[in-house]
Symmetry: C2
Subunit: 200 residues, 2 copies
């Protein structure tokens, strides 16, 4: 059976949990508290030298790292990942966008606000994170003004990947009120069959 090493409050981990639920694939969840360094111990690093969650154990000795690579692996051949070459590439394009232009600002701002103490030095990063994060949200808003979903007007792993940290962006101090198309899209995702909330 698939085994997913993850932290419940992590958006990257929620992506995989949500897809597994929607694909109705049985799996075992193993909680890993990265804040306590549990992904930096020898046993974990042997599975994933990057020391990151989520990590998927496909079978003993066969592991896969990187949330969006895991989504692609699990969704291949299903309606959640188009088989059309251009739509498939657009799905990947949004997922690389998420990891490069969205997550490093929106997820990191949430991490600082939610998990660090109010006197922590890293609070000084927030203005920069907000500036870059709002740019990422603006690109999504512009696209979603004319599209129900990110790719091919069908719910896909691109939506799952971008939902992860967008839906909890306000925990990092972002205001979503000026992004109505994003708010409608978030609701649309939450109405999908077998949707599960992130444990927060």
């Amino acid at each position: 059976m698939l085994k997913l090493y993850g932290m419940s409050a992590s958006g990257n981990c929620h992506k995989v949990k949500l897809l597994l639920q929607q694909l109705q694939m049985p799996y075992q969840w193993q909680e890993v508290d990265i804040l306590k360094g549990e992904s930096r111990v020898e046993n974990f690093l042997a599975m994933n030298p990057g020391g990151q969650v989520p990590t998927l154990e496909i079978e003993a000795g066969k592991y896969l790292a990187e949330s969006n690579a895991i989504l692609c692996y699990l969704a291949e051949g299903t309606p959640y990942y188009s088989s059309d070459p251009y739509l498939k590439a657009q799905t990947l394009s949004w997922m690389f966008y998420e990891q490069y232009s969205h997550e490093p600002y929106i997820a990191v701002a949430r991490f600082i606000c939610k998990f660090l103490s109010p006197g922590n030095d890293r609070l000084s990063e927030l203005p920069h994170l907000h500036e870059r994060g709002y740019k990422a949200l603006q690109v999504m808003q512009q696209h979603l003004l004319n599209n129900d979903f990110l790719v091919g007007n069908t719910y896909s792993i691109a939506d799952i990947a971008l939902y992860a940290y967008t839906h909890c962006a306000e925990e990092g101090g972002f205001k979503l009120d000026t992004f109505p198309a994003i708010k409608t899209w978030l609701s649309r995702i939450e109405q999908q069959d077998r949707f599960v909330k992130m444990i927060n």
Copy 2:
């Protein structure tokens, strides 16, 4: 014919140029100087709202953004991108790793050292960028100690993606002498058929 909008000194753009050359696919190159804001003008943003290079024009009105998504699109069905589900997922895993844990440190350090003036405020970012960049290099070094290439011991788009900014890491102040397996791997890539250097 494919048209590639790119900047010659960008590792992300070199990735796509190298693959097109190795696939022997004809294409037209359009130089875009992002330092002069040429990717932030209306015409460019209509193709790619993120304002980033490379951007691939597949045909009029049909564009693709994100270097690694472009690599996947072009390499699908070729020996540069395995069709085996697990190897394919591992290829993606390394490419997401590149965009999240490698490029933001190693490419950004190079950008600061190469393109900004010596008095620029951003030089203060270098110690942090070096710390994180060395972590990324250590993960590569560990893997390459026992493997000729990143995935399945075959040259693939994962190697192309990671080569881009690793081969010019020293321009950002990184020392590669303590990473002999990486240096051997860089040479191995440069010996591949139809390899082209980055114009630097």
